[in-house]
């Protein structure tokens, strides 16, 4: 570097604390900036999963942070890193964001060690959500496998909030064994109500299990749906998609009424870093929610 260049070095600050700004403008200024959020509640769900509730500390950010079911946030623990995590709460739960986190690596290990009152960084929300408005007036068939319940719970709870806007709502939620079933209390409660047709199923039952037994596709055997009026939504481990989509297609649900949320490692969340690419699509901005027709047209999606 020449001496001229050193003198000409310019520093661009990305924040101007003196200016009163809206939360949206602050977030827009530098979308890589995580905003401090306090852990307000931690619920143990299983041996490996916890539900964290966060509250963004800056009121301006909090007021302009609006998510839709199916979107995700980037969570920061400074010094450890950042991870994309789908939002589990309904948008109607204003001011709070719930994330369901499985302890599975260095980042989530650290998050699981944190206590109520601890602070993390959040940025987002990112990604294309489920078409909630378009789904209104239709029957809904939701299929979750394992941790796939995390993004679908946002949709389920949002539907619950506006239950009268929807027709028949069927939820199929499959787990490997009873100890891995999350939000069981909530589901137990719903099992005895007429709002939802609920199928909890496990691969390996124990003596306490009184739900279904078998793969997540099993309940389809006796499922009666009106295909022209149904939206399907699914999320689960990679291996699950093909089989559930097959079942939905057998029931004649249209390609573009079957919505699925894909899991990839979105590092930037903004369609740049490339880690979440599926074929030519970026899971973070083109998805993570795709309909089956779109997914069929992306090489390597399923």
């Amino acid at each position: 570097m020449t001496s001229t260049a050193l003198e000409a070095l310019q520093v661009h600050p990305f924040h101007d604390e003196g200016m009163p700004k809206s939360g949206a403008a602050m977030m827009h200024e530098n979308p890589y900036r995580p905003w401090p959020a306090r852990i307000t509640s931690i619920t143990d769900l299983t041996a490996t999963e916890k539900l964290f509730e966060f509250r963004l500390i800056d009121e301006r950010i909090r007021n302009d942070f609006h998510h839709k079911p199916g979107q995700f946030v980037e969570v920061s623990i400074f010094g450890v890193g950042e991870a994309p995590i789908s939002i589990s709460s309904s948008p109607s739960k204003s001011g709070f964001i719930e994330l369901c986190v499985r302890r599975t690596g260095r980042f989530t290990e650290k998050l699981h060690q944190m206590q109520c009152g601890d602070i993390v960084g959040l940025r987002g929300p990112f990604g294309r959500p489920f078409p909630f408005e378009a789904m209104k007036g239709h029957d809904i068939l939701l299929v979750a496998g394992g941790l796939g319940i995390a993004p679908l719970r946002s949709l389920i709870n949002n539907i619950h909030d506006e239950r009268s806007e929807f027709g028949k709502v069927t939820i199929i939620y499959g787990s490997k064994n009873p100890s891995e079933v999350m939000f069981r209390e909530q589901f137990e409660m719903w099992r005895h109500r007429k709002d939802f047709d609920l199928y909890l199923t496990v691969d390996h039952p124990d003596e306490t299990w009184d739900g279904e037994v078998g793969l997540v596709t099993k309940p389809f055997e006796h499922l009666e749906i009106s295909p022209e009026n149904t939206y399907g939504a699914l999320c689960g481990p990679p291996v699950m998609y093909k089989f559930v989509v097959q079942e939905m297609r057998k029931k004649n649900i249209s390609y573009d009424h079957i919505y699925m949320s894909f899991e990839r490692h979105m590092k930037c969340g903004m369609g740049k870093c490339g880690h979440c690419q599926i074929g030519h699509q970026y899971c973070c901005i083109d998805g993570p929610v795709f309909n089956y027709w779109e997914a069929k047209n992306i090489q390597g999606s399923m």
Binding site: L9, R33, F78, E82, D118, C273
Partner: protein, 362 residues
């Protein structure tokens, strides 16, 4: 576009004028090849270079860049800024200008403009220069042999003079102050036209022009060719390091030795790296080199086209020279050239019209 003419002997004055307010980065000899480096005199610049080992992307997307610093104890961001050197990229070939135009699509004109890239881009002037294609150049196949926009000046060599396309007011002011700028004569326009024609005719004819490459790649997505090609990949990621349009990155936190403070950095990453598509829990969506190489080639020759109506590959040929396993877009073009003709999907100009009709009926 505004055209003017300057004598070749005036280039040193132009470079000196830029040096007053900018760092000037230009091609310089490096071993057997060339590289882009900051220069302090016109004499060190190699104007007639075939290509450089690495591209210019490092000046807009540094290999390692601090996004912000933080205090890990307080969980706070401490400093949020980007250091920018006002810079002139001097002597840039058309392929590389087209590459920067593609980076602009992703980092500047996208739904989420990247503030770091943008701050640098805003302080960067680009001076293009015409070139002589080397054996590994195939920019003309992807419409990247001409820069239609994305530069401040473009110097077209017409003998001992340059026809200069002027793309910005900022550069026009510097040019006019430093050089004796003339209107182009008809003779000079003809010289430019002839030089452009010669340029188009001087590409390596062994690299096939496969206009339907994106369609053919979709049609033969499952072809064993990909296994063979990608199976050779050493996952060294040299291809993406030298590529002017490979922009993928990783984001990581680096702690200072005290363990309390640190910085979040973005570092170059590559989709040909084995861990690239790994998710939490251990599932790797592209766990074989064959799939990774295929994914990379698709992004370059198919996917970006589908999204942005332009090839991401600009045919600069750097990866052709960098790859130890001889994997390159040229291999892909050659394979699909033959495949297209053998399968009848693409008309063979040598076959007769009767055959062609039969193919169309299939």
């Amino acid at each position: 576009m505004l055209y003017r003419v300057i004598d070749a002997s005036e280039l040193p004055a132009l470079v000196s004028a830029f040096m007053k307010d900018y760092e000037v980065v230009a091609p310089v000899p490096s071993g057997q090849s060339y590289t882009f480096e900051a220069v302090d005199s016109f004499d060190s610049i190699a104007l007639d270079y075939p290509t450089t080992i690495t591209s210019l992307k490092k000046y807009l997307l540094p290999p390692v860049e601090t996004l912000f610093t933080f205090d890990a104890k307080q969980n706070e961001v401490t400093d949020f800024s980007v250091e920018v050197v006002p810079r002139v990229l001097f002597g840039v070939h058309a392929c590389d200008i087209n590459a920067l135009n593609s980076l602009d699509i992703v980092f500047k004109d996208a739904r989420y403009p990247d503030p770091y890239y943008q701050a640098r881009r805003d302080k960067t002037l680009i001076v293009g220069i015409s070139c002589t294609p080397s054996e590994t150049c195939f920019c003309h196949l992807f419409n990247a042999d001409e820069a239609r926009f994305g530069y401040d000046l473009f110097l077209h060599d017409i003998g001992d003079k340059y026809l200069v396309s002027i793309g910005s007011v900022e550069a026009a002011n510097i040019l006019e102050a430093a050089c004796n700028v003339r209107e182009a004569t008809d003779e000079e326009r003809i010289a430019f036209h002839n030089a452009t024609r010669r340029h188009k005719e001087s590409f390596n004819p062994d690299i096939p022009d496969v206009q339907d490459i994106a369609m053919l790649m979709d049609a033969f997505h499952e072809d064993p060719f990909w296994e063979e090609l990608g199976g050779r990949c050493l996952s060294c990621t040299a291809c993406s390091s030298v590529c002017p349009t490979c922009y993928c990155f990783d984001i990581r936190d680096t702690l200072d030795p005290d363990g309390d403070t640190g910085r979040r950095e973005r570092v170059w990453d590559a989709c040909t790296s084995p861990q690239f598509a790994l998710v939490a829990g251990g599932h790797n969506f592209r766990d074989e080199s064959a799939i990774r190489v295929q994914h990379r080639m698709y992004h370059k020759l198919n996917g970006f086209l589908a999204n942005h109506d332009r090839m991401l590959c600009v045919g600069c040929g750097r990866c052709v020279q960098a790859c130890k396993a001889h994997i390159s877009p040229i291999e892909v073009l050659k394979f699909f050239d033959e495949k297209g003709r053998a399968s009848g999907l693409v008309n063979d100009p040598e076959s007769n019209s009767e055959n062609r009709e039969e193919v169309a009926c299939d």
